[in-house]
């Protein structure tokens, strides 16, 4: 149980008991469960059996995948909520990965000027990262999360057993953010990850704790919290450009590539030593599979970093490493440095 900004994060086998108590106490007028076809099949039945308070909940099923984070789908969900007469005392339960919680959180945060929502993350990425911190959003005009809010959920319920049905590729997807968390803020975790053979639930708890510390210090993402963006300046650009070209890439995969690139930039700026840099690249290439990026799209990717939400005018602002386990925010990076880092990334994938 971890306390966050006005709500509690529950982790473990007994979270559905906590969820039952939560629902009994809150007395919502209506509960709506948002899921995708995967969580509908693999997670919803168990949830409803174990949490009887949800037996009359309405189920909204969306298609899995980033394409669902659209304004059009928001419109449909708002229409549906209205058609059910959902009032200000209704609850949205986001049962899924980051797409479900980003979308459902945004839909809730502006419906009738804001109704409550909770997150039940079902992917490792969502458990270790996305479900905590209150960032909600949709993609707009080809830009990831360009429309959204920072609105805290009323509770997060993490049930690690949901990971049993998760494909391997999606486990790696979540591990990427745990490695990032270690690199920016916890050298001990980094060492443990290097020697770990399997995914251990304590990694999830540790990652949530670390993230929560950043979030509590800086809820609105104006200062220290920006450290969480390590790997994301380049990562988001890769993700946006590839998704626009209909290349299949997961968020964590893009962030991993971004972490390689931004470690290279950290080295160039003498924020990490050559030894640390080699340790990072060797560990990540040992633990994860990397595919080369289409060099023809590098120009597009550099352009996308310029248009990143995190920037202030005309300057790419990046969060870099400052030694392993430490970070430095608001570092100005040039388009040329981004391009060189992408070229370096491809060189290690050959």
């Amino acid at each position: 149980m971890i306390k966050s900004l006005g709500y509690t994060i529950y982790i473990g086998e007994k979270v559905f008991k906590d969820l039952s108590s939560f629902l009994k106490k809150q007395k919502y007028s209506n509960c709506f469960i948002l899921c995708d076809e995967n969580t509908f099949k693999h997670c919803l039945p168990g949830l409803i059996i174990q949490c009887k308070e949800l037996k009359d909940a309405e189920i909204f099923e969306i298609e899995s995948g980033e394409n669902s984070k659209s304004l059009q789908l928001c419109s449909q969900l708002w229409e549906t909520l209205l058609s059910y007469n959902a009032d200000k005392n209704a609850l949205i339960i986001n049962l899924g990965g980051g797409v479900v919680s980003d979308l459902g959180g945004f839909v809730a945060s502006v419906y009738k000027r804001g109704i409550d929502f909770i997150n039940i993350p079902t992917s490792l990425l969502a458990m270790a990262d996305a479900s905590v911190g209150g960032k909600t959003g949709i993609d707009f005009s080809g830009l990831k999360n360009s429309i959204g809010t920072i609105t805290q959920p009323k509770g997060v319920f993490i049930f690690p057993e949901f990971l049993e049905t998760l494909p391997k590729r999606h486990i790696a997807n979540g591990m990427a953010e745990i490695y990032k968390m270690a690199l920016i803020s916890d050298k001990v975790l980094w060492k443990k990850l290097q020697s770990a053979k399997i995914l251990d639930n304590t990694f999830i708890t540790r990652s949530v704790l670390l993230k929560n510390n950043f979030v509590k210090k800086d809820p609105l993402d104006k200062g220290v919290r920006k450290a969480l963006n390590f790997g994301h300046t380049v990562g988001h650009a890769i993700e946006s450009v590839l998704l626009a070209s209909e290349v299949d890439i997961l968020h964590g995969e893009a962030v991993l590539a971004g972490m390689i690139c931004e470690s290279k930039i950290s080295l160039k700026k003498k924020l990490i030593s050559k030894k640390e840099f080699d340790e990072i690249v060797n560990t990540l290439t040992q633990k994860f599979t990397f595919a080369p990026l289409p060099a023809l799209l590098f120009g597009e990717m550099v352009k996308a970093t310029v248009n990143d939400k995190k920037n202030t005018k005309l300057q790419i602002q990046s969060a870099l490493l400052n030694g392993i386990g430490k970070n430095k925010i608001n570092v100005a990076v040039t388009p040329m440095e981004i391009l060189e880092s992408l070229e370096f990334y491809n060189s290690i994938t050959i």
Copy 2:
């Protein structure tokens, strides 16, 4: 100068000096002024002449009127902001009435998870009411403000001279909310309004002060602030239904009718005496012009009160009077009481 939730409300002839200082201090990357065809013509030139910091601001002009509070127009504004590379450090300046500030505030509150905005109200309604309190929103699926946020502006700059070009009908529109403010919370103001011959700037200041007191005590509209909804349960229903039938009605006109109806309900519930009730109806009918409502649409209006944002499930929740200058929130009202009050309203317009 009135302090609100983390920002200041400036009122008077010198507000553009305050605005200049504010802009110098904040160093925004980009300023976007949102206006309609009326404020473009009557207010923008003076603003730019008096506030040199805005000489390079981009101007977005929208059509005046409630129809502009649409998701489609939000989309267009977000696209435009992106096309100007507006970053997280950009500012939106809402130069207009409630439509402009509701729309511009919402657009700002979710663009890149929230950028700053300020309000420069140009109508009496916006000066005395809408520009303060942080409610933003658009109409969706025929329901007023059904999508929106509660996000405070970074400043409000009230320049009463803008009222000189405002049509008479729009002055009455704003006076409606000032009378409401008096009825729910300030008997002294009520007496002054009864004897007043002309609009006095002190009425604006007093109204903002009174509203600000409610807002500061209850920013998220979960308790005492609901008192501000007096006249709005029935008023919003009238407004929604008439606008859907393309009948031209202003917000304040609908609220005035709503105040008559809800005074009648307050009387029925013995919250005000017959003497107080007569005083309210006589004063309002003396000061304002009332037109009968189409009785054929009463059914629709009753239905709309059931679907009001402010309700909790299956019960119409209204904020009523509790004597003149006092209020009572969360009073359950039946559909029949709404209908009877609408019939009473029509009886006084004949």
